[in-house]
């Protein structure tokens, strides 16, 4: 009878991976609620950059540039926060004194960091809300979304792609003492390469570098859904490429995390590093 009851409970529970991801997501959200000042530095730069861009764009009669500024500002918010959270993913556990517990738990380390990465990308989107308000009330820009459903779909998928890239950064940063420095040093170059605020053809010979970034394809899809009610085949092409690249990110992150976890358990130096 007891066994039967337990199996019923097991059926109600989500698969273990999702449960771990969700728990980490929830914990990260609670941390932000408890100590919200940490999110401020990560949205300041994207916010200021977007306000500067909007000021530069205000002479544009077509309104096309304003769309770039607002959507790009949201994208940069996601980037900034994800990059930051990746850089500090392990550092934060050290500060809290919970790293040993996380490593000793039977849960996969990557799933824990994944939950945190998604929560941080989501928090980065607050920048988009702030920018929308500034654009609407400060700059009198009217911004309509032509296809809200596909806009939401492409936004969520891009958020997942950013989170997946954050996993790669997190695993790489674990191996370095200078994660914070990498985080600061990579923030602006990624804003440029991802074409968040301008089309990547502006980059000239460096344009191909942006093709390996899933979120580059995501922001293209988001712009298309925001502009056209009936999206073209390019929208689906962008989504398809982004999903493919995201799958590659996850595969790379899985390998890297296995290496990091093994190294941490073998050397026992991660906590002191």
């Amino acid at each position: 009878m007891l066994i039967l009851d337990l199996s019923k409970e097991a059926h109600k529970m989500p698969p273990q991976t999702l449960r771990v991801v969700y728990s980490a997501f929830r914990m990260a959200m609670l941390h932000w609620v408890a100590d919200p000042q940490w999110v401020i530095p990560n949205v300041i730069a994207p916010f200021v950059f977007t306000v500067v861009a909007l000021t530069l764009f205000r002479t544009d009669p077509t309104g096309q540039f304003a769309l770039y500024a607002v959507l790009g500002g949201g994208m940069m918010g996601m980037w900034g926060n994800t990059l930051y959270s990746s850089g500090f993913a392990i550092e934060f556990e050290k500060w809290q004194g919970t790293l040993e517990n996380v490593l000793a738990a039977p849960s996969n380390l990557m799933h824990v960091i994944a939950g945190r990465s998604v929560s941080n990308a989501l928090l980065g989107l607050t920048n988009m809300v702030a920018i929308l308000l500034i654009a609407a009330f400060g700059f009198r820009v009217s911004l309509g979304v032509a296809n809200p459903i596909l806009f939401a779909v492409s936004l969520v998928l891009t958020l997942l792609s950013v989170s997946a890239l954050g996993l790669i950064f997190a695993s790489a940063f674990v191996l370095s003492r200078s994660a914070q420095v990498f985080t600061n040093g990579l923030e602006f170059p990624i804003y440029i390469i991802s074409g968040s605020m301008f089309p990547v053809f502006v980059l000239g010979p460096f344009e191909p570098v942006s093709y390996v970034l899933g979120p580059k394809w995501g922001i293209d899809a988001i712009r298309e859904a925001a502009t056209y009610g009936n999206v073209s085949i390019d929208f689906w092409k962008n989504i398809g490429i982004m999903l493919l690249i995201t799958a590659v990110y996850i595969a790379i992150a899985t390998v890297l995390f296995k290496f990091v976890e093994k190294k941490a358990r073998r050397d026992g130096t991660l906590v002191e590093a």
């Binding site: 306000v51 500067v52 000021t55 540039f65 003492r177 440029i192 605020m197 301008f198 980059l203």
Partner: protein
């Protein structure tokens, strides 16, 4: 003599302290990557807008030049504002604040000294980023009055360090000065005529621009690059100096006031 020794000790230790978290190769990486990528970002935005509006090539070049020069000068803020404000943060995180306040040393040289090596570091940042502006974005210094430009950069670094000390003094009252360091480093991009002229800001916001020494410094440097002499740009430099000195004075008042409150309440790290 004793004050001079305190001044130099404060300058050296405050600068060296940042290497507890930043190793020298990474310091160099940041020095070369951060300013360049910030400059490139805004140059690309400006170029895209100018091209999209069908501006003629000479106007596009002028836009790129304007943005590149502004951002090259704004990089001084990373050292003189961001790093200087974070000294306060590190004093709190690293537990050195009680030791600092327990020492009988005169407070003024301690307070001003902590920013001084960051001033030199800031000048180096500006020089590096001017090289980027010249070789990557085609900024031409052919007409520049180099003496006037050099003095404008030196004075901007000093006065912005004064501004950093002001916010750093204010930051003693906050648990995490890093938040203020981020805010006050980045808002300079909006207010100081870095990417667009101050008169493009909404009217009510324009007076705010003149509270920052960088606004005067950028105007002075732009005029020096256009060939104006030191005498011709001296009104900008005079105003910049006044704003910088007032900033240091107010910052020092904050610092002493914090010290009094901290001694009275015994809450040094989070008054």
């Amino acid at each position: 003599m004793s004050n001079l020794r305190i001044f130099f000790s404060s300058a050296i230790f405050s600068f060296r302290a940042q290497f507890s978290w930043l190793n020298p190769p990474m310091w160099l990486t940041l020095k070369f990557v951060l300013g360049l990528s910030q400059m490139a970002f805004f140059v690309f935005v400006g170029q895209y807008i100018a091209q999209g509006q069908g501006q003629d090539p000479s106007k596009i070049v002028e836009t790129i030049r304007y943005i590149a020069i502004g951002n090259a000068l704004q990089t001084v803020a990373w050292n003189t504002v961001f790093s200087v404000i974070n000294i306060t943060g590190h004093d709190k995180w690293d537990g050195t604040l009680p030791l600092l306040l327990a020492t009988p040393a005169s407070r003024l040289p301690i307070f001003i000294g902590r920013a001084m090596l960051h001033v030199l570091d800031g000048m180096l940042s500006v020089a590096i980023n001017f090289v980027f502006a010249i070789f990557l974005f085609g900024v031409n210094l052919g007409n520049a009055d180099l003496l006037a430009l050099t003095i404008a950069v030196i004075l901007t670094a000093f006065t912005m360090a004064g501004f950093g000390l002001l916010i750093g003094g204010f930051s003693f009252y906050f648990r995490d000065p890093m938040v203020l360091a981020n805010i006050f480093t980045f808002i300079l991009l909006i207010f100081c005529g870095v990417n667009f002229a101050v008169d493009q800001l909404p009217g009510p916001l324009q007076p705010v621009s003149w509270a920052f020494p960088l606004t005067y410094g950028i105007n002075a440097a732009r005029e020096a690059i256009d060939g104006k002499s030191l005498i011709a740009i001296s009104p900008w430099l005079g105003l910049e100096l006044i704003v910088g000195l007032v900033s240091i004075l107010i910052g020092y008042i904050f610092f002493r006031s914090f010290e009094r409150v901290a001694r009275k309440t015994g809450r040094l790290e989070a008054v």
